[in-house]
Amino acid sequence: MAEAQNIPAGSTTTGSIAVAAESTVATRMSAPPSFDVADFPVPHGREEEWRFTPLERLRGLHDGTAVATGGAVKVVVEAPEGVTIETVGRDDARLGRAGTPVDRVAAQAYSSFEQASVITVAKEAVLAEPIRIAVHGEGGVAYAHQVIELGAFAEAVVVIDHTGDAVVAGNVDYVLGDGAKLTVVSVQDWDDTAVHAAQHNALIGRDATFKSIVVTFGGDLVRLHPRVSYAGTGGEAELFGLYFTDKGQHQEHRLFVDHNTPHCKSNAVYKGALQGDGAHAVWIGDVLIQAKAEGTDTYEMNRNLVLTDGARVDSVPNLEIETGEIVGAGHASATGRFDDEQLFYLMSRGIPAEDARRLVVRGFFAELVQHIGLPDVEARLLDKIEAELKASV
């Protein structure tokens, strides 16, 4: 059920649960998914999928004027034994299998990249160490495509770090073989000038488990589409997200879980804190339970904590159910202010205002951070949250 509490002025929380014979998740997009940018009209900003995004800050990614400059990003991959890393051309058959671009920017990226990176974990390989991918923006425009594929029963953790300054659009495919387990941590720690738009497609094999942790701190504009669909029964997706939106930043996460297969699970939890004038966070959580997806179990939640005046949250959970033969389905969204009464209580115990704020924000994120299950990543995120708070307005 949708819930809304203490919504700060200028924020919206709208939710819907629709029981429909035919999906509207797909039809309310202005064009059907396509790999070809020409299939999408240039957005004008009033379309459902663009209405929250300041197009002028996309630096031309949406209208064809952003031309790749070469050398805009430097990518370094560190991988343990059992991993194959390849750079391939556009015609490689392994590209684009996990999903099709759903908006013009993703299609622009698919139409524009010159080389793609394919990282493969052999079947039944269980990696001892994470695969670490460092993406550093060197200025300029880049289009990218990346595939991470796990063979049957393989297990891997991938940590992708985005830093520096660039204008980047890309697609990432996660292809999980039967029984595979993949954890991906994607950290958007860009400089405050960067623009990053990406579609993350996960195709989850039979009995496979996909855990995604999306962490967005940086960027002038970050707009991500984490998307999940299932290739077999028994698949599980856990989608965690954490964002800290500062003054002037636009951070948008648009989730879509397509329950297209029976007996699969999904659980999405995104939490964000906002501070400063013009900080804008957008969270869209679309879940579709198709008629054939009996036995589905899904839940999605978005929580926002607004720390100062001048910040804005738009949170829109949508759940569309085409069959009643399911285990569970629900969603929740709430946006609250850091409460003056909480502040008073903590301060009345001698705790200075700044420390009180830190205590509450740490607490707000702690539960989510504990789900990550990677101690070094958890520690780094908590440190980063502290740093964000220290830099507060």
Binding site: Q342, S348, G350, I351, D355, A356, L359, V360, G363, F364
Partner: protein, 254 residues
């Protein structure tokens, strides 16, 4: 010896676009080691006095002074007042989701004491105090006031009182909503602090019941935003028998 001195305190609040004066000239001196009971009917301004002393932003001090050992309390921020030695046990403590009791207690003790308590002695101190208040050790891992029962909230307030060792403790209707057993446990906690002789206690209550457990040195009847009558413990007996009626009428005609 620490002294809290309240002189001619006037306090108002904004409500429905109008300013309403709630405290209309309160004079009171609380010295270390003394216990003052402030009793009065609903709406007389007792809680306003408590929250004004702690510095709640809802209340505006329009005139008067409050000093603690000569220092101007009204010029201090909320946290500075706590560090100066004021403590308010609240009637309705606030939930702070995501912040554990143990983390909260240690953070506030660090702030009030000016340095982080040594971990080993601190853990022992917290454990023993919780045992005295008949609190389950698992309590420390719960989030502050989240899902606490009324009795648990009050025990948690008194736990803080015992750990933070203020110079002046203001207990705002700590007895309300407690059953007899919980009232006894909470009162024993307050008495342990009083017995040190190092705290001045301002016990705000509607009922005389708690005074059977916590013996006041002074009783003040609060009515219509000021102290209407002061006396010794015997005044509470009079209130027990006669109620507040005389003061409410007196207040209305004043």
């Amino acid at each position: 010896m620490a002294t809290l001195e309240i002189r001619d305190l006037h306090v108002s609040v904004e409500a429905d676009n109008a300013t309403k004066e709630i405290l209309k000239g309160v004079d009171l001196i609380v010295k270390q080691g003394e216990t003052h009971a402030i009793m009065g009917p609903n709406g007389s301004g007792k809680s306003t006095l408590a929250y004004s002393l702690a510095g709640h932003p809802k209340y505006t001090i329009t005139s008067g002074t409050v000093t603690l050992d000569g220092e101007d309390v009204l010029a201090m921020t909320v946290d500075e007042r706590a560090r100066a030695g004021l403590f308010l046990a609240m009637q309705y403590p606030v939930e702070v989701p995501g912040v554990s009791v143990s983390n909260f207690l240690r953070t506030s003790a660090t702030a009030v004491r000016g340095e982080a308590p040594k971990l080993r002695t601190w853990v022992k101190e917290v454990k023993e105090t919780m045992a005295d208040l008949q609190m389950d050790p698992a309590f420390a891992e719960r989030n502050v006031n989240e899902g606490f029962s009324g009795g648990e909230k009050k025990r948690h307030e008194i736990l803080q009182l015992e750990l933070l060792k203020p110079k002046v403790a203001i207990l705002d209707e700590t007895d309300s909503g407690l059953d007899v057993d919980a009232l006894r446990v909470v009162s024993e906690g307050v008495n342990r602090v009083r017995e040190t002789g190092e705290v001045g206690t301002l016990l705000i209550t509607h009922y005389t019941r708690i005074l059977r457990y916590i013996k006041p040195d002074f009783v003040h009847v609060f009515a219509n935003g000021r102290i209407a009558e002061s006396g010794g413990a015997e005044l509470a007996d009079k209130l027990e028998n006669e109620g507040y009626e005389a003061y409410v009428k007196g207040g209305a005609s004043a």
